[in-house]
Amino acid sequence: MNIKITPDAAVEMYRTMKLIRRFEEWVTVLVEADEIAGVTHESVGQEAVPVGVCSALRDDDVMTSTHRGHGHIIAKGGAVPYMFSELMGRESGYNKGRGGSMHIADVSLGIYGANGIVTAGMPMACGAAFVFKSRGEDRVAVSFFGDGGVNHGLFHEAMNLAAIWELPAVFICENNQYAITTPIESVVKVPIHTRADSYGMSGESVDGMDVEAVYTATRRAVERARDGGGPSFIECQTYRYVGHYTAERHMKLNYRSEEEIELWRQRDAIEGWAGRLIGQGIWTEDERATVDAAVERELDEAIAIARQAPWPETGSYLDYVYAREYPGFPARGSDL
């Protein structure tokens, strides 16, 4: 299969990676300014993975995401105003302010939710894939998870389910080398992608700092899944330049060196891709500047919208737990 990226698509990939990078940088600023509460996990450095993967998807494909999910959501088409509104806890947010960073979802875009529990989305992607298969639709379900996830029991169970039932699923491991402070080498003895063998599933490892490599591998896996060829596993080697969560910048953790971070920064996916497009003459520095400026504008506007968005009504705190409520449920905290 010869997979070509059109110039327009290539520029769009750049734009989306840049949007994610700048979105995350804004999140950090807003967290520090106490405009965003809770715990936020930025994906700065990893942008090529969600963009490469989601560029290979159709709108009606679905995906499950992780605690480090902003990039996945943007890449799958999430609108930044609704994302910022969600992160600021507003009623106009994607989840009406109920979810926050770790749960952003837009089912209409096939975003089945970020998830705060490592690998929790994997079996859900299998369930969705089963529905597509049993309805005879050629849709695909993708599940993102980190290197830390591959040691979880649920990884194993979900990979096996997908394999034995030949589900149209694609499993994307974002191997950013660490689970919080724990280096992947200390908790896994084999190259991660070889785990796929043990389910009879195709598995490969790609350079997660190269959006084209991620796209190409995913595209192949997605086509195979659509054609009834079953699931695939793709490990993307990547790195987060920033801490596990926003707060880490104020902590004295020493699980990795500045040199290591610098080495990965030199392979930056966004710079690298821009360089290639410009080098190949497909694009110019001016065009890039225009895109960059548009990204800034988009984010500025989104933040402005979010800041003015209304908060949820306090009295609505019992809403949305159940599709159907009964008298006295959900139970309130006091019964005076």
């Binding site: 089912v107 089945y112 859900m124």
Partner: protein, 322 residues
């Protein structure tokens, strides 16, 4: 009218609902093999795409159900034995049960969990004899525990039609009991308890297989001149709070007869609820007769001693009706 066993009533509900709505499918361990009877004939009738035998992967098949529900289908997820819910506990209480709120109402999760042979007896021992519904209640998951064949069918149909996760606990001691069961599909609404026997001195609130025992005790107490009312909640969440309050207000006394662990169990919830709601109508303390907080030992005399007993219930009644 026809008399069916509880398991047959469940089987009929499965058939009729899967017939009615082809978005419904069932999955779990040895469903096709039909070990107990409740899944009899499903494979033949609905085929392998709607009747799935899973690997021993409880956490994954619960999450699978959640994902299928988000994608628009209506899974029935069966637990072969009740304690298997522990293996999927995160997927149940931290995912399926919370998904709707966390997403701001974007999706429904219409999944029915049929939890088979809860509260098993006769030497099933430590790991197979729990009655784990209080865990579901504490997590806010809708929970049903039908005490007879009629309710088993009508409540299973309602559970399957509900657009939220519902745990359906089928008590081991009820599964082979027979009762009158109409053939046509019928739905018993959630949240409606039932007075199974009228009485004036004390209301016994009994759950699942305790209902039958409570009725026996009620009969025998009448010879002592104590008139015992028996109330069956049928659904534990939503609970028929009005129903239980008016039943207890009428008698002024209440004993809760429940085969789950005592501490933080359903009996504790009911007792504290009644104190909040009908304190002024009470003429005596509310008593709980429950399982002791011990793993169920294998040996028969120890198992007996740990379980709530008819003698224990009678004593509790006497202690407040004296």
């Amino acid at each position: 009218m026809r008399r069916l066993r509880y398991l047959q009533a469940m089987n009929e509900a499965y058939h009729q609902e899967m017939e009615r709505d082809e978005e419904i499918f069932i999955l779990g361990e040895d469903i096709r093999g039909n070990l107990r009877g409740e899944t009899y004939g499903l494979l033949d009738r609905f085929g392998p795409n709607r009747v799935l035998d899973t690997p021993i992967s409880e956490a994954a098949f619960v999450g699978f159900g959640t994902g299928a529900a988000m994608a628009g289908m209506r899974p029935i997820v069966q637990f072969q034995i009740a304690t298997l819910i522990y293996l999927a506990f995160d997927q149940l209480v931290n995912n399926a049960a919370k998904m709707r709120l966390m997403m701001g109402g974007q999706v429904n999760i219409p999944v029915t969990y049929t939890v088979m042979a809860t509260g098993a007896r006769n030497g099933l021992a430590g790991q197979h004899a729990d009655n784990p519904y209080p865990f579901f209640l504490h997590a806010g998951i809708k929970t049903i525990c039908p005490s007879n064949a009629y309710d088993a069918k009508g409540l299973l149909i309602s559970a399957i039609r509900e657009n939220d996760p519902v745990g359906y606990f089928a008590p081991a001691g009820c599964l082979s009991q027979r009762g009158e069961v109409p053939e046509a599909p019928y739905a018993i609404p959630l949240g409606q308890g039932q007075i199974k026997r009228e009485g004036t001195d004390v209301t016994v609130i009994a759950v699942g297989q305790m209902v039958g025992e409570a009725l026996k005790v009620a009969e025998s107490m009448s010879s002592e001149g104590i008139s015992v009312q028996v109330w069956d909640p049928r659904t534990l969440l939503p609970l028929d709070k009005e129903g239980v309050c008016s039943a207890v207000a009428k008698t002024g006394r209440a004993v809760i007869y429940d085969d789950a662990n005592r501490t933080c169990g359903f009996a504790a919830e009911l007792s504290s609820l009644l104190v909040e709601r009908v304190y002024d109508e009470l003429v005596s303390p509310i008593k709980r007769v429950t399982r002791a907080d011990v793993p169920i030992a294998f040996s028969a005399p120890l198992e007996q001693a740990a379980l709530p007993s008819q003698v224990g219930l009678a004593n509790a009644i006497r202690s407040i009706c004296g």
